[in-house]
Symmetry: C2
Subunit: 680 residues, 2 copies
């Protein structure tokens, strides 16, 4: 590399160096540590190492670069172009020799550690750095003059051609090795996994000849639904997605009823483990079919789930999670062969399960943390995943705390008189006119509001069947804003005089959203005093958990809020704050995080350092058990009021005018109207 | 540890230090790095840490040591003594506090790395340092004020109480963990394995409370027989041994016929793998029953075998070993869960298979190397394991070579007219009177020679049924010494005139050892010209292989010889040398090594560093393939003569007078007698 050798500058890295004439561009790139992909190791097979040759004077680099400064298109390159197609101006860097000074651009898709943009608008891209990679190798043939075993020559090829050492492999690989080598005429593709327990590199799969399909599954095992994303480990792209109801529902609707099932039915945990694993296999088949790949092309699976789901898919009896002290069998990340989970992927595939944080704060929350990265924030972030339990993480770079709070099933539309799952026909948006108390609403599956022309025609198919979780939040918040309920959540019976929407019901009142037409068989959709109470209980539990962590952290204000999970994705954050589910915050800084748990699984799938990261963050998180915190009960009681008995909501008040406190008329024990004073 | 603290000297190590009054002796020992065992971690449960307190003036150490310089017997120590018995003068070092200057003797059985004396007289003891050890731990109970998972607290206990880090475990351990911890009331015994691929420590088994049984199996899988030794990993003692015929014999008597079976019968390798694994399980059950232990007390298994056996028990198709270039699937040592070999031991048990050296030089030879240690010798050692193939290792500290040579089945008594396996009734020793040509012999199962009083009565039960491998060696060597055959192996027909023992047979002659009594149905036992030829072919192949390695090493003389394997154990080395099976050597330095392959397996089982050692030595061994060595054929032809056509046997000649070369009368093609000249 003398001064007279041509000068090469690679963009965007800016790495530069001089190389003798005739040096392949790929070789120069490697010598300089330029990030450039290759599966075939420079044999014009994989097409991953494509580059663009700069054309013109590059004053910045002091170089004149032109196509005549590289060698012509080779025969193998021509063949590659014919079979797989090379975009205009692109060359395979392995086939392109340096003849003069060059500026070489490495496009993003040719970089190994490319940035994968997440679907959701977000500042945090994922750096592609998967734990499994494919390596095409040419293996020396056996030579009686220098006897050595086939596996030793494979390891030597991986060392010589890819710099991979400290290798081990499964017996099944050794069993297949000789036939594969001979079928591939001593050229095979090896999949190497670098995250096996203990360390080292593990040869997990082999194919004769060149093979360039390597996929992973990111799976979020929820109590209700399971979602799987098939992801291309070479590009980071989600190739296919599928969801399925959790078949364990037949053993119990919610988590605790499933734990009870195990307690009551010896061996019940085995049934539930079998059910969930079968569902995981169904999902894997589904996404593989959608993606047009073989199950054996799936080399990795990353799983998240709440603690009970986590234990059940790992085959651990969840009984201990059903009562104090709520001890997890393990909270550590689990790395095990996928076949130990009875998953029928590539036989050499590995599974990674994110760590659990505590007995009620699971690997799903670890996924949320990996996705939303509170541990990287300068200002305090609150991340909440709302389900039957709310899993709460609060903190910043400096310190992170987590707890869970028993919100109950109301937020999922359960135990609400007109409640239902989010499905076509469910009311998801609602506004109440504070003058007339008339509602307008939208239902899932229809773009029109109920007061728009053609609404009734548009919903003929689905009808209006109930209120989903986000709908009930808006309904009650709007009831509060319009004065139908007061700060204590009491329905103001005196309004019955003003509007037929307020109707007496036993000793209390209802607010009627939609009455069935005469002769129609649609249900009566209304909000009862009990419904309001159920939501108050849930939101008070959530707020109390958050407040407890704020106490521990010694803060009065959070900087930003992320609402994760299906419920968190659908609610209007403004209404959540009006109800006081979450503490006061600049509304612009409150966002839905979508399926953040699933995103976290995908991050861990695509970037192996993210696994170290989340394991280390989870170790650092301070785990708070609300059940033993004396302040929790007090916070809970104070949080029953809307939005809160004592806490001011200054930021919210800038955007929304909250009604003043008032006493309301409600039905008495004897059905007679009487005045009740605000409590406290 | 000031100058005024008592001074403690430990013997035999000589390690010394000062400790405050009240320090437990075990703690002082650990602080000084004194090798002292403990499973229970100082709780007076395991009794492994026993010591003797020195009594008197120890001028050498400048110390007066007396029983009054230690604290009195504690209650728990008394309890231990009552239940399990403490030898007179012994104390549990964990219960014994330092009160004054002391000389403390650590008896061998209290040392972790005690020397295990091998059964055979040998200078090389095995240092006990197994890959699996038991650790009794007390685990913190779950605490809602400091939530953490059960597994994390187990890892913490292993760290705090045993200094073990970098832990991982199987899912099955996690599944059992919560019940085991609660059953043991937060005290469990953990088995930790430190040789998993990649590194780190693996928690492989747990028991509630205190458990101190940890065993391993050393297994030598021979083509004909399989031998298993159950070994106590705490003491190094062989608790039970058992052997079994290899059930694969039904697929083919010798290795190549088994490989042919696979080639002819698709799936045949799976049948043979299943057969061998079933036999291994039978053996495991057998030794466990003999040893009075559970199969779950077996935590490790180490296996050796020739390349074909190696491939078959690992589940690898051995077809490639059936023809050039004889490529092994793997020659590397294999470490895998024992359950992957379908072995029903403890579910967490690990298997280790020694490395193979080359396509015909297997893990059994690696076992021989580990046992006989040619790589540690100053003078050249020849180690030979004779079977259907002879596996040959030659060299010293400086350089080591290996090859195999196709000796054929004659040494095992096969293809010999009166040949049989070594079993009661087989002739194993024979002498021929050079004057009368009358033989005297011994048979297996009888202590008397055939010319002793009472011999015939003693053998009534077994009869005399044939000649075993070692018997045929002696017979032919004695025939040579007595002139029945000449240096070319030709039976001298002219002697038929002198003795009826020489009888014509087709175109050649036989030597009759034992004729059936009239009316008896015992077989005629004789040595035919073909028998002599078969042995000559075998011994020439063996010698040629050895000679080839001597050429490569540039030597004319070997320093010592070890004969391994069943055949090697039974032959009289003098006769082996007279026949020229092995090169000339000081007879005092030629020894049988017994089942050295099995001993090697046992060493690897008891000492994990021995695994590194053999893996590194095998890498260093220069592998020679006789099939591509032009000199092999020439060496083979020259080695057909007895003891050899050209090589002088000066050392042998000092002990035995070898007859001078002679021409002999033999039967001609037409049956007529004719003179034949010595060839060459």
């Amino acid at each position: 590399m003398t001064e007279t050798n041509p000068l090469i500058v690679f963009t965007p890295s800016g790495k530069r160096g001089r190389f003798p004439i005739g040096t392949p561009v790929l070789q120069a790139a490697r010598a300089l540590g330029v990030d450039i992909d290759s599966v075939c190791g420079g044999r014009a097979i994989c097409g991953r190492c494509q580059i663009n040759v700069g054309e013109g004077d590059f004053a910045k680099h002091g170089i004149t670069s032109t196509a005549s400064h590289v060698s012509g298109v080779t025969k193998v390159e021509e063949r590659y172009d014919k079979i797989r197609g090379l975009p205009a101006g692109r060359r395979l860097s392995c086939q392109t020799q340096i003849l003069g000074d060059l500026v070489i651009d490495v496009p993003p898709e040719s970089q190994v550690h490319k940035q994968v943009v997440r679907k959701e608008a977000d500042t945090r891209a994922i750096e592609l750095d998967p734990a499994t990679r494919l390596c095409f190798i040419e293996v020396e043939e056996p030579d009686m003059h220098k006897p050595s075993s086939d596996l030793e020559r494979v390891y030597k090829a991986l060392h010589d051609q890819w710099g991979i050492d400290n290798l081990s492999c499964d017996l099944s690989i050794i069993s297949d090795l000789q036939k594969t080598l001979r079928k591939g005429e001593w050229k095979i593709t090896a999949a190497v996994f670098s995250r096996a327990p203990g360390g080292g590199n593990r040869l997990v799969a082999i194919w004769p000849g060149f093979h360039d399909k390597v996929f992973g599954l990111a799976i979020d095992v929820g109590s209700t639904t399971i979602a799987a994303h098939l992801t291309n480990l070479s590009t980071g792209e989600v190739t296919a997605s599928a969801g399925l109801m959790n078949p364990q529902i037949r053993f119990g609707e919610d988590l605790m009823s499933r734990v009870s099932y195990v307690m009551m039915n010896p061996g019940g945990e085995k049934e539930m483990t079998a059910a969930i694993r079968q569902a995981l296999n169904t999902l894997a088949q589904d996404v593989a079919r959608q993606g047009g790949i073989e199950l054996t092309d799936i080399l990795e699976v990353v799983l998240v789930g709440n603690p009970v789901m986590h234990h059940l898919f790992l085959g651990i009896d969840p009984t201990e999670l059903g009562g104090a002290p709520f001890a997890l069998a393990t909270g550590l990340a689990v790395t095990c062969p996928a076949k130990e989970l009875d998953l029928h992927l590539n036989p050499g595939a590995w599974a990674y399960v994110l760590p659990c944080i505590a007995g009620h704060v699971g690997a799903d929350t670890a996924g949320v943390v990996l996705s939303e990265a509170p541990h990287e924030q300068d200002e305090i972030m609150l991340a909440v995943d709302v389900g039957t339990n709310a899993e709460i993480v609060l903190g910043s770079k400096a310190r992170l705390l987590a707890c869970s709070s028993p919100t109950g099933p109301a937020f999922e539309g359960a135990q609400i008189s007109s409640g239902q799952r989010a499905a076509p026909g469910a009311i998801e948006r609602i506004r109440i006119n504070p003058e007339t108390l008339e509602p307008r609403y939208k239902v899932i599956g229809c773009d029109k509001w109920s007061d728009e022309e053609g609404f009734e025609e548009a919903i003929v198919q689905t009808g209006v069947t109930g209120i989903c979780g986000s709908g009930i939040i808006e309904a009650i918040a709007e009831m509060y804003l319009s004065g139908v309920i007061n700060q204590d959540g009491l329905i103001d019976g005196s309004l019955a005089e003003k509007s037929p929407r307020i109707e007496p019901h036993k000793r209390t009142f209802n607010y009627v959203i939609r009455a069935p037409k005469e002769g129609g068989n649609e249900p009566l959709i209304r909000v009862t005093q009990n419904d309001v109470r159920a939501i108050q209980l849930g939101k008070a539990a959530l707020y109390a958990g958050v407040r407890l962590l704020m106490d521990k952290l010694g803060i009065e204000q959070v900087g930003k809020i992320r609402l994760a999970g299906a419920f968190g994705s659908h609610i209007d954050v403004k209404y959540a704050m009006i109800l006081g589910l979450i503490p006061d915050c600049d509304l612009a800084k409150v966002q839905s995080a979508g399926n953040a748990a699933g995103t976290g699984a995908r991050i861990a799938l695509l970037n192996m350092k993210a696994r170290d990261e989340i394991e280390s963050v989870v170790r650092r998180i301070e785990k708070i058990e609300t059940a033993v915190e004396p302040m929790f009960q007090q916070h809970f009681v104070e949080a029953m009021a809307i939005p809160h008995k004592t806490a001011p909501f200054p930021q919210l008040s800038k955007e929304v005018t909250l009604p003043p406190p008032k006493d309301v008329v409600t039905a008495g024990d004897d059905g007679a109207e009487r005045r009740r004073r605000r409590r406290g």
